[in-house]
């Protein structure tokens, strides 16, 4: 995993540096053209300060923190995430609280996916080819086909109109910058309803379909028929063995689920103005604020990798047959 993260960081750095120039050289060009020579000196100084005048591989190593920069070793590994030129603040300050909120939003989405997909998938399989099955797959297809961001807007509008759900943001404005309290948590939860729903629907739909297919495979096996013939009650017949067998792929799938959820959360955050790292990423990418953009991308990738690892661990707990260590000879 560490190796993967390393490769990912290199890839991200490369992508960030694809557009010609950087934030400061753009600024210098702008200052020159408007004749503000005083600002140029400052920007040139900053360029030196953040090693933007060096070669790309060197910049990368300095950013990671395995090469001495102008101030010795000071990079991601040392906990120095760099400077955001646009906000004129250290990156860690810009994204500090947003990082936590991103995790909260994504956790909520994952929970939502499971809470929705598990009962619906089982129900759709048990009552296959009835209206429950058709209804759940209809909702699933709609979730799959609607662009996330528009679903978000429409749900926000109707949620506010009919259920008096709050619009925009992740908490009521008066709670911002406040310490944690019961009231604040309540406000955050209330604000989370629509985003979670929007981010999770597509994932839940895919999950549900897969669980349904797996369950159907299991339910057609002879042991289920035997059980039914012997008079095992239907609920027990469903949960005792078929569900346990069908559950494995369900958990293993979280590795595929998390990248798409995070993608969705970035988009939805931009549209709904949630204070997660989504909007920060968008503005950083647009203005070539490279340290900020690089860090956000790296954080998102790390979050995905950690999520995948957790799913692997869960899978090992759930099914003792699965081991990931090397095969012994």
């Amino acid at each position: 995993m560490v190796m993967t993260l390393f490769m990912v960081s290199a890839l991200i750095f490369l992508i960030i540096n694809l557009p010609p120039g950087d934030y400061l050289s753009n600024q210098i060009a702008e200052l020159r053209s408007t004749g503000q020579e005083a600002g140029v000196a400052k920007a040139e100084f900053l360029r030196k300060e953040y090693a933007l005048d060096r070669s790309l591989p060197e910049q990368y190593l300095i950013w990671i923190g395995v090469w001495p920069g102008p101030h010795g070793f000071s990079g991601i590994l040392q906990g120095d995430f760099g400077w955001s030129f646009e906000f004129n603040k250290p990156v860690s300050e810009v994204v500090g609280s947003a990082m936590w909120l991103t995790i909260v939003v994504n956790l909520a989405a994952v929970l939502f996916v499971y809470v929705m997909a598990l009962p619906l998938g089982v129900l759709a399989a048990a009552k296959s080819r009835t209206w429950i099955d058709y209804l759940s797959s209809f909702i699933g297809y709609i979730g799959l086909a609607t662009p996330n961001f528009l679903l978000a807007l429409i749900l926000f509008y109707y949620g506010n109109k009919y259920f008096d759900l709050p619009i925009g943001g992740l908490m009521a404005p008066e709670f911002e910058e406040q310490p944690m309290s019961i009231e604040k948590i309540k406000s955050v939860l209330l604000h989370l309803i629509v985003p979670t729903f929007v981010i999770g629907t597509a994932g839940a739909a895919a999950m549900m379909q897969r669980l349904r297919a797996n369950m159907l495979d299991e339910l057609n096996k002879p042991y289920v028929t035997t059980g039914r013939a012997k008079g095992v009650p239907p609920a027990k017949l469903l949960t005792k063995y078929p569900l346990r067998v069908a559950f494995n792929p369900f958990v293993a799938d979280i590795g595929n689920l998390i990248p798409s959820l995070i993608s969705g959360s970035v988009l939805v955050s931009v549209v709904l103005g949630l204070q997660t790292i989504g909007p920060a990423l968008l503005s950083a990418l647009k203005s070539q604020d490279q340290f900020l953009a690089g860090f956000v991308l790296l954080f998102v990738a790390a979050l995905t990798l950690i999520g995948t690892m957790i799913s692997d661990l869960l899978l090992m707990l759930l099914d003792p047959r699965i081991r990931f260590d090397a095969r012994k000879r």
């Binding site: 993967t4 490769m7 990912v8 890839l11 991200i12 992508i15 960030i16 694809l18 557009p19 010609p20 297809y141 709609i142 799959l144 086909a145 609607t146 662009p147 996330n148 961001f149 528009l150 807007l153 429409i154 926000f156 509008y157 619009i167 590795g255 595929n256 998390i258 990248p259 798409s260 995070i262 993608s263 969705g264 970035v266 988009l267 931009v270 549209v271 990423l281 968008l282 990418l285 647009k286 070539q288 953009a293 956000v296 991308l297 998102v300 990738a301 995905t304 990798l305 995948t308």
Partner: protein, 384 residues
Amino acid sequence: MSRLPDGRYVDDAPYHADHEASQIDNPDMDAPTRVLVWRRFKKHKLGLISGIFLLLSYLLLPFVGFIAPYTAKERDAEHLYAPPQFVSFMYEGEYIGPHVYKTTATADLENFRWTYLEDKTQPVKLEFFCHASEYRLFGLIKSTRHLFCAPDGATLFLFGSDRLGRDVFSRILYGAQLSLTVGLIGICVSFFLGIGFGSLAGYFGGRTDWTIQRLIEILRSLPELPLWLALSAAVPSHWGPVAVFFIISIILGLLDWPGLARAVRAKFLSLREESYVRAAEMMGAKPSRIIGRHMLPNFSSHLIASAMLSIPAMILGETALSFLGLGLRAPAVSWGVMLNDAQNLASIEIYPWTAIPMIAIILVVLAFNFLGDGLRDSLDPYQK
């Protein structure tokens, strides 16, 4: 049917010893593969309907200029944000043919918006095969003939008009040209890379396989959208719409191939051991020939089905990127660019028709999904 004394039933028909031998194993397997595929596909009603719908949509793309009553950039400054007009056939209980009513705009100075009033007393008939603004058929031939257009002095905004007074219906048709082809180009890129890398990894194995496997793992573990964003932010802003369109579709394809490559690799690993591959190797065929002639055709059906299932992701991707302002940009017309207008709550509430392109997107994405499902089930007719 006769009943034996002990209560059992026995068929009266005489028993032929070789009756079973003369019957084919699978009576429905008596035709060439493509007939079998078609037979199976026909049973998948949803897939069939979706297929026809998509075929029609793609066939109509070169003719949108003829079908649309307006062109994509034509502005009607008198009718900003005009609501959708309905075409009716009956006027005061009598059939007079398709007609609309003239609308007049009045400024609502309290809410600062335009309100439109229909003049119900004067129906004006639609014109067919009439002359209106100029467009280029197939992008080449200049023409002014439209299938139908607004009658003199009246407007024909079937789905309303947008912020600049452009017809939403016509723009959806023009937008389809870009939005529907973005997926096709993307899938070509993704196929090229996916099949290339997948077959290399599966055929040669060893170190090549290891390297490609790691690459796939890394790309699959990354969330797509932030990467799309980062890549399209790198597209220079001074490029023309056509260049941006191509680069965006290539970007969409660039991140889609790992899933395909994995499937190809797994299939190749098992196919490599088949005796016909051995035979070809013995006869001195080059790897490129073995891969291209003997192995790939073996699972082209799987490839086609998976292509159908990845196109919608690309269409949605283009929409999302354009919506965020990092994809196609304003002079270009695509569904994502159009939805950019519906970006805020105010427009959803006051001008809900600006979000109509969403319906087009949903239809196309659903159709691709159903078609993909249908093809996946039917392309391998020998499987039970």
